[in-house]
């Protein structure tokens, strides 16, 4: 289990929200489950991240009722959020590929 890399929390939250409207605690579980327990988001850091994304207009919130009948705040992706997520995803893939290339380099390929 590792904590998330600095700067990647927002993308993770954005991706988690994109899978369907969910409340904060649900998003936390969702990230944990998707990473098969490899990533653990610090619980307190989630809410400022949500506020930050909401403030940028990438997600929006609405009060609703949770599965066990509690009043909860549900977050969903906005159109801008969807566009940002797509952009972040391709940027992340490009970065990850480049990292893999560099880290996987053998001695003879380098000049």
């Amino acid at each position: 289990m590792s904590t998330v890399l600095p700067g990647t929390l927002d993308v993770l939250v954005l991706k988690a929200v994109s899978l369907g409207a969910e409340h904060g605690y649900g998003l936390l579980l969702r990230i944990q489950q998707l990473s098969q327990g490899a990533l653990e988001v610090e619980q307190g850091a989630l809410y400022p991240a949500l506020a930050r994304l909401e403030n940028q207009g990438l997600i929006e919130s609405e009060w609703g009722t949770s599965e066990n009948n509690r009043r909860a705040k549900f977050y969903s992706l906005t159109r801008a959020g969807r566009a940002r997520l797509a952009h972040e995803q391709s940027a992340w893939h490009a970065f990850a590929d480049a990292m893999a290339l560099v880290l996987g380099a053998k001695k003879e390929t380098a000049r």
Partner: protein, 861 residues
């Protein structure tokens, strides 16, 4: 968008925002606890564990608020509350600060209110952005407003595609006759004037082209009140204006005042105004451009009308057209002159505000230094430098905001009284106060002043206070802080004193110039000589005037003295050319004014009627033209044909005492040659009467005498002394304003100096105590403390006086006849300033001298 919405909701429904934040975190804890219970923990332990996992809820909430952009505002709100409490802790300091700054801001706001109402505001017409003046450009570069009606007619034809229409205006002054005759002022306008400008009428209707020659009137709202008592049934009634009876057909709405700063009391059709105007041949011309037409295009459309004249080698009249947008109640030439004149006035007012601000900055600096321990502690426990600066700036901003509110209120309360003070002496011709409601423009101006004030009083102390090193122990901060804050305070104080010196010396210069008008004596009894002020006086008028009780004599003169510098003409004397001032007088002039004849005689009745080639010269003229010789019987020649004096050889028959007949600051005439004239001649332009009885009663009776001589004339007789007084009015007003500004600045500076010296003394108590313990006498301490103050005062004056000299030289270069150097102003004013400042310092210095060394050493710096 959503960001603003959240921010807005958070601000307007703060309690709800906080509740929802709490609810969300509470849900999180509850949901986590549910899961933990499911995993086998008991309920109480699960709830505890869930809370621990979430961590410090308050910290997360603060982060959420920050992410929503609320942190800065919350911080500001906190600073504001803190600042408010700080002010309440020091009510005297806060009250004085707000009062002084409030009055300074109020004065600036009032000045702006006038400027805005009269100079910046467009006339209230249908299309103010398309309103233009058609100005006449002359070959010599002069631009004036008058055209011949023929030019205007051709403009209307040539400019039909550029203009919606052109209108003609003439100004009319005519007496309203009746139980108590009064002078009225109105505009004679072309028939489409109202339609073109989109004037709304309160009552009745406007005149149209069919009525262009009828005796009908539209009253302005002000004229309705003044001339008809605001009667609702005024339409259809008649007014006797001079020789003609006019029927009132309408009353304009309050907001429509024409396009001039002095709003007319009525409008009449210009074609029918012949008896009042005398000359219908010329008028000022204005127009409304068609939408989309630029002034330059309009000019190009009109210029061909003047093509023939412009091509002539010796053109008569204007050769160019200037189409100038009329953006204010003044035409473009006037507006430019006013804007130029307004710059030093605004500068003076702002200077006072800055002096007041600098003073407060000084006091705040002193207080900040006194709070150095508090600040050092705040810095050392981790407050950022910006946080401390912000905190102090918020305090300044609060003071400035309160002062701005006070200033706005003071300005609103005083603006009418100030208006009456400035324009009161113009009598019925004073412009009506343009309703100067507090609007967005004034709000913006006041807000800018408040911002300037806040920065002026807060920035320096804030930066200075925050620059202390938190690393040093709270006790040792001094070592670094003292030198810096001392320098800054000194700079502020010195510039304050310099500004006060500038304002005071300028004020006393203006007052000195105004005083010269009071002390002026022309050499004849000008308090008893009345100018009847009747255009083209007639023998009939003289008969009526001489019948008035109290009038002992009446005399005709070409141009009444003291109305301006006399005209000058070339004459030839013994083969030399000389320029001499001249005037025309009849045989009674010298006796009526009480001017003694030193030699020879006055004119004879036969000479004045026939235009005999004789002249009387002043003593100074005689000395100049014929030094050391008897002037009687000498001759000179007039050789130029264009003068109001016929060509020929003139013989001197008398020598008169020297008098002053020009403007008061020019003194006695250097030359003056009197030529004969008589009533009824074109050269006899004015009638003067000598009053031996009650002057006020005679003035009233003279008005009736004028009306008896000619029913269309309501003259306004005035003693020549009051003519001089009216020259003095602008100087007196300017002097009054400048003096009040100067004294305000001096008072403020002295408070500041007192405060700074007091602060230095308190601050250096220990040092002084040591000096005394080491044997310094009280006198030495006094000298030492006072010396510092005197050095600052001297420096302030050394900076202020040269600036002032340069400024007044600039004024003198632009305003003719104002003396730039007045010894009294330059010696006395700085002396007074220095004395007051030294006195303020002395009080504190004495306190220092009495410091007991033991107390001083015990005192904890």
């Amino acid at each position: 968008m959503s960001r603003l919405r959240t921010l807005w909701r958070a601000l307007t429904q703060r309690r709800r925002y906080e509740r929802e934040l709490d609810d969300e975190l509470a849900f999180h804890v509850a949901a986590r606890a549910d899961d933990l219970v499911r995993a086998g923990l008991d309920r109480a332990e699960a709830a505890r564990r869930a809370r621990v996992e979430l961590g410090m809820a308050e910290l997360h909430k603060a982060d959420v608020r920050a992410a929503h952009g609320l942190a800065l505002l919350d911080g500001l709100a906190g600073d504001l509350r803190h600042a408010w409490r700080a002010l309440l802790r020091n009510p005297v300091f806060a009250g004085t600060a707000v009062l002084i700054l409030g009055l300074a801001i109020g004065a600036n706001a009032a000045l702006f209110a006038f400027f805005d109402a009269y100079v910046l505001r467009a006339p209230a017409v249908r299309a103010p952005d398309r309103l233009v003046d058609i100005m006449a450009a002359y070959p010599d570069g002069e631009v004036a407003g008058l055209w011949t009606v023929e030019d205007a007619r051709q403009f209307a034809a040539a400019g039909a595609r550029a203009f919606e229409g052109l209108y003609l205006v003439n100004h009319v002054r005519v007496p309203l006759l009746g139980a108590s005759p009064t002078m009225t002022y109105g505009h004679a306008v072309s028939a489409d004037y109202f339609e073109l400008l989109g004037a709304r009428l309160e009552l009745g209707r406007a005149f149209d082209a069919a009525e262009a020659r009828d005796p009908v009137l539209v009253l302005s709202a002000a004229g309705w009140r003044r001339l008809a008592g605001g009667r609702p049934d005024v339409v259809g009634t008649t007014l006797q204006l001079g020789p003609t009876t006019y029927t009132v057909i309408g009353v304009a709405a309050e907001e429509f005042r024409g396009v001039d700063v002095v709003g007319p009391q009525f409008w009449m059709p210009r074609d029918g105004a012949g008896p009042l105007l005398g000359d219908l041949g010329s008028a000022t011309v204005g127009g409304v451009l068609r939408a989309g037409v630029t002034p330059e295009q309009a000019r190009a459309a009109l210029q061909p009308v003047l093509a023939e004249r412009a091509a002539s080698p010796a053109p008569v009249g204007p050769t160019g057209v200037v189409v100038a947008p009329r953006r204010s109640m003044f035409d473009s030439v006037e507006a430019h002159a006013i804007e130029l004149a307004a710059i030093p006035v605004f500068a003076g007012f702002l200077l006072v505000l800055l002096v007041a601000s600098a003073n407060l900055a000084n006091l705040t600096l002193a207080r900040a230094a006194a709070r150095r321990r508090e600040l050092a502690i705040r810095l050392s426990v981790g407050a950022s430098r910006w946080r401390v600066v912000r905190h102090m700036l918020v305090e300044s901003a609060l003071v400035a905001a309160l002062a701005a509110v006070l200033g706005t209120v003071a300005c609103a309360a005083a603006v009418e009284a100030l208006h009456d003070y400035a324009f009161g002496r113009l009598g019925p011709l004073a412009p009506d106060l343009v309703p100067a409601a507090f609007d967005a423009r004034r709000a913006v101006y006041v807000a800018l002043l408040a911002l300037l004030t806040a920065l002026a009083i807060g920035l320096a102390p804030a930066l200075e206070a925050s620059a202390r090193q938190p690393g040093l122990g709270a006790r040792d901060i001094d070592a670094d802080g003292r030198a810096r804050s001392g320098r800054l305070r000194d700079a502020l104080l010195v510039s304050q004193l310099a500004a006060s010196a500038i304002l005071l010396v300028l004020a006393s210069l203006i007052v000195a110039n105004a005083r010269r008008a009071d002390e002026f004596r022309p050499g004849f009894d000008f308090g008893r000589v009345v100018d009847v002020a009747f255009p083209q006086p007639t023998p009939r008028l003289r008969q009526e005037v001489e019948r008035v009780p109290g009038v002992s004599a009446a005399t005709a003169v070409g141009r009444a003295p003291l109305y301006g510098q006399p005209y000058v003409m070339p004459v030839r004397v013994d083969g030399r050319d000389a320029g001499v001032a001249f005037n025309h007088v009849d045989e009674r002039y010298f006796a009526t004014l009480g001017i003694a004849l030193r030699r020879g005689r006055s004119f004879l009745p036969g000479e004045t009627a026939s235009g005999a080639r004789v002249a009387i010269v002043s003593a100074a003229t005689a000395r100049r033209l014929w030094p050391d010789r008897d002037p009687i019987g000498r001759v000179f020649d007039v050789e130029f044909a264009d003068l109001p004096v016929p060509v020929g050889r003139y013989e001197v028959v008398g020598v008169a005492d020297d008098v002053a007949s020009g403007v008061f600051f020019a003194g006695r005439d250097r030359t003056m040659v009197y030529f004969p004239t008589a009533l009824g001649e074109p050269t006899a332009g004015a009638l003067l009467a000598r009053v031996d009885g009650d002057v006020a009663r005679a003035l009233r009776a003279l008005v009736d005498a004028c009306t008896r001589a000619d029913a269309s004339v309501l003259c306004e007789p005035a003693t020549l002394e009051s003519v001089v007084a009216s020259h003095r009015l602008p100087l007196a007003v300017a002097g009054g304003v400048a003096s009040s500004l100067g004294f305000a600045a001096l008072a403020i500076s002295c408070i500041g100096l007192y405060g700074v010296v007091a602060f230095t003394v308190v601050r250096r108590t220990r040092e002084i105590g040591v000096r005394i313990a080491l044997g310094a006498t009280p006198r030495a301490v006094l000298r030492f403390v006072l010396g510092g103050a005197v050095r600052r005062i001297a420096l302030g004056l050394a900076i202020g006086l040269p600036v002032c000299l340069a400024l007044s030289a600039l004024v003198a270069a632009n305003v003719a006849e104002v003396r730039a150097f007045d010894a009294r102003s330059y010696v006395l004013t700085p002396l007074v300033l220095a004395l007051v400042a030294v006195a303020a310092a002395f009080v504190q210095a004495r306190r220092a001298a009495r410091v007991a060394p033991v107390d001083a050493l015990r005192e904890d710096g």
